[in-house]
């Protein structure tokens, strides 16, 4: 191999502390180095031309540039080398600026270190192989997981740009938590009134394939080329026949056995049901757990009343496979159930608040249903225990949020606002009612948010008490709320008719499971991780997977919608080209050496290792070995390090290359 060495002064950035002339001279004595020069700006056109010219004149087939970090100009120099007819992967960069000249003062010492780094790079490049970037096609279809407002927005944006979308929702209807809300802060417009047109738009959009009551079962493949298996759960209703008349639900004799999920268990629903009247699609499902037919076969009322024979008790779960290029995850959140310790969690919970014990201690979403015109009380403020109008309501903020010892250390972000809204809605309808809010701090950052909270306090007379509640207990039909007013420094007691807990927004219980299915990272709370919190906030580190809404962290509606549009834009960027280019640094297997222990398969985070059978000429399996799916492999090399006999190696970072670098230390 004939190697050319090019040392850049980077103006004075390198030259000031590294004696570039001495480095170039030292390099000229390295074995295989036939050309070693320094220049003021290697990345400039004249600098690049020096490299190109030397390649042509001296027939170089390896290049080492001593310059700034490879993260800065590796691409530049690889391209220059490639333009001159040498494979770009036969060019290595030694980082003489960020790792040497900028961090050391002593010129002698810095120059010595620079020479060492050059030696490493020369030794490595000698063992580099010419590689070709991998080109993979892009399937221009998007999977959106979750049909809440974030998923709806993302699906509509992508579809309106002309690309097909598969929208998967696990519940029988899209709409998510937003469909349960009464009115939204800070404008107090009716949640359903602004949401349902979007839901209908999704349903009718020619580019959107809507799959409700469905879950993502398996994700194979990689960016641009996912193969996704979706489980379409049995509804026991044929959606091609059902007209959505609703007769089945009306006639269903099961009236008081199942609690409505949509109404947050404040009302009953039938065994065959649509979650709410505006549900999209307006097709019922049968709850197998309570349906008499599934219990003992003795009822089939719904079959009798259905004019279209749409009831199918023998329906099975279906598995549907979709080819997908980009995935937008918008699976949202749930509320922290404070009376129960979350599974596998250290969290102690708030048993002292009596949630689950006292009917009139409710959480935020339950209060939304009570306040909602479509709710079980048709928007009349009645407390769950006896239906009486509560005259005194205590709202407690930060239940589970900002509480490391009993809940979560993060702020749920939306509770300050929705509590102000709750108190306001209550005061608007119950004029003589009293609303008390226990708070830690008021966090009202957002357009018109602070003004909204001020309005609750100043115009609607909501009483804010800074402090925590220690205990709630029942006495003579009242709920005694004991707490402290920390501003006044006095203990405080309120005899309330009802208590509303602003419980923390937490990740969905099965969030880690979906993350593992997709193969993307999540944090300790179960929220999905973005690549970079500031500069890449909607991308997961798994290529082609984007995040929208509260699955990433607690978020309100405008933020979720904005994030959804951003995620959609990222998917569209991906669809902007027909082919994707990938670095060719992937693992490969020496099948002769592979003993088939499959430790590589165990450690691979991308399911890139497959089992390959080696057969003799008669077709008998001699042994099973590992096989790398080059489309899936991302080139981390964990397999390489784990393999005891080094039968699997990472191209570009082979054992031989790394050994040479270590050996170059001497």
């Amino acid at each position: 191999m004939k190697i050319g060495v090019f040392i850049c002064h980077c103006g004075e950035n390198i030259g000031r502390t590294v004696d570039c002339v001495r480095v170039a001279k030292a390099c000229s004595f390295f074995p295989n180095v036939v050309h070693s020069v320094e220049y003021k700006y290697m990345c400039s056109d004249p600098g690049q031309n020096m490299i190109k010219q030397a390649i042509k004149d001296l027939k170089l087939d390896g290049v080492v540039v001593g310059s700034c970090s490879p993260h800065m100009h590796e691409k530049t120099f690889r391209k220059a080398v490639s333009d001159a007819g040498v494979n770009p992967f036969l060019c290595e960069i030694a980082n003489l600026r960020e790792h040497v000249s900028w961090v050391h003062d002593d010129k002698e010492v810095a120059t010595d270190k620079a020479i060492d780094l050059m030696r490493f790079a020369v030794e490595k490049v000698k063992r580099n192989a010419p590689l070709k970037t991998i080109q993979v096609p892009v399937t221009k279809r998007t999977l959106v997981i979750g049909g809440g407002i974030a998923g709806i927005q993302a699906a509509l944006d992508v579809a309106n740009a002309g690309y097909e979308v598969v929208l998967v929702e696990k519940e029988p209807s899209i709409g998510g938590h937003m469909s349960q809300l009464s009115e939204t802060f800070p404008t107090l417009d009716c949640s359903q009134c602004i949401l349902t047109p979007r839901m209908v738009e999704v349903y009718q959009h020619p580019k959107i394939k809507l799959m409700t009551y469905s879950e993502v079962e398996k994700v194979e493949g990689f960016i641009g080329n996912f193969k996704v298996t979706i489980r379409k759960k049995a509804r026991f209703v044929d959606d091609t026949l059902c007209s959505g008349c609703g007769d089945c639900a009306i006639k269903c004799p099961i009236k008081k056995k199942a609690l409505s999920e949509f109404d947050e268990k404040l009302a009953f629903r039938s065994a065959i049901y649509v979650p709410f009247p505006q549900a999209v699609p307006n097709i019922p499902v049968i709850d197998k757990e309570v349906c008499t037919y599934f219990k003992n076969g003795k009822c089939s009322m719904c079959v009798k009343v259905c004019g279209r024979n749409a009831i199918k008790f023998d329906q099975q779960d279906e598995f549907i496979s979709e080819d997908i290029g980009a995935i937008i995850v918008a699976t949202g959140y749930k509320l922290y159930t404070i009376d129960k310790k979350p599974e596998a969690s250290e969290i102690k919970g708030y048993g002292e608040y009596g949630y689950g014990k006292y009917k009139d201690v409710v959480d935020g979403l339950q209060f939304e249903r009570i306040a909602s015109a479509s709710g079980p009380t048709s928007g009349e403020f009645q407390r769950p225990s006896d239906g009486k109008t509560p005259k005194k309501i205590v709202f407690i903020q930060c239940v589970g949020s900002r509480d490391e010892s009993k809940g979560f250390s993060y702020c749920s972000k939306i509770c300050c606002m929705y509590t102000a809204k709750h108190a306001m809605l209550y005061k608007h309808k119950v004029h003589d009612g009293e609303a008390y809010v226990f708070y830690m701090d008021i966090r009202a950052g957002g357009k018109m948010y602070e003004e909204f909270v001020r309005r609750a306090i100043e115009e609607d007379g909501v009483k804010y008490i800074r402090g925590r509640v220690s205990r709630i207990y029942e006495e003579d039909g009242k709920y005694i709320v004991k707490g402290e007013d920390t501003l006044a420094g006095v203990p405080i007691q309120i005899d309330a008719d009802m208590v509303v807990l602003a419980t923390a927004m937490v990740a969905q219980t099965d969030a880690p499971k979906l993350a593992q299915t997709i193969g993307m990272p999540y944090d300790n709370y179960g929220f999905y991780s973005e690549v970079h919190p500031k500069l890449r906030p909607v991308e997961s580190s798994t290529g082609g997977v984007f995040l929208a809404g509260a699955c990433n962290s607690p978020r309100d509606i405008p933020d979720s919608v904005a994030m959804a549009s951003a995620a959609a834009a990222k998917a569209l960027v991906l669809f902007g080209s027909d082919m994707l280019e990938r670095e060719p640094t992937i693992a490969f297997v020496n099948e002769n050496l592979c003993a088939g222990c499959f430790y590589c398969k165990k450690v691979c985070a991308y399911n890139a290792i497959e089992v390959k059978q080696i057969k003799d000429k008669n077709g008998n399996v001699i042994k099973e070995v590992a096989f790398v799916n080059s489309g899936l492999c991302q080139g981390c090399g964990t397999c390489n390090a784990t393999c005891p006999s080094k039968a699997i190696e990472l191209i570009g970072y082979t054992d031989e290359q790394i050994y040479a670098e270590i050996a170059a230390l001497m």
Partner: protein, 287 residues
Amino acid sequence: MDDIKKIARELFTSGKVNAVLGYVSINGQRTKPFLATKPEETDNFIINKYILNNLTVYLTKKEILKYGKIGIFAKGCDVKAIVALLQESQIKREEVYIVGINCNGVCADFDMEFSGETIALKCLNCEVRTPKLYDELIGTTEEMPKADDGKLKMIRKIEALSSAEKWDIFEEQFDKCIKCYACRQACPLCYCERCISDKSVPRWIESSASKRGNFSWNIIRAFHLAGRCIGCNECERACPMEIPLSLLNRKMAMVAQEEFKYVSGLDPNTPTLIGSYDLKDDEDFIE
């Protein structure tokens, strides 16, 4: 004893296996492994205090694999190796018929009277005297001699030493190594097609029996078995230079248990120690 021969014969006659791995006696205090490929070849099969070999080492050998389904007589410790081989896809459960032996301890070596003095150290705190996995089980467990666990004491003693003192101990021990690889040969879990010590490009481990080659070899051998070694101690028994290899193996097994509550070779469905991870793995040693 007739029992064993009958069982071994029946494995053939019932068509369950095509060959059986068992032990035959050489003299009263010695056995050797034997592969019976016909029913009548099992007539000398024996089980006594001298069935020292871990026969599972043969299960991955091509010469044995060609017979298809194999029967094997296996003590609890040997079965742990079978479990590890199952975890590592080296054998198929349906290809091995395990005659588990209820074990009351074996001798540390041949040609000695079995007693509390001569019992193999691995037997002392054995928790698999009844194998964890078998197709049929023979024998009964009875009272076993008690003795001091000298190796454990030695490990504890070494742990308390300074780095320099530890180094000196192992430098001296590893210095004895002649790179004969008997340890590798005897190990049921050393089944690589080509051992890393034989890899020449690049040569991670010096091939000569030099001090540094010996050091690297013994460290990497122990590391490649970390979380895998099932403690049959065949490596140490095979070592002609009497290097106490079990010090390293046992130390690693102790770390596996302390750090991860992991004991190798108990359940074929458990994820392997290396190859899995827990978000809560210790990282106090990482800055």
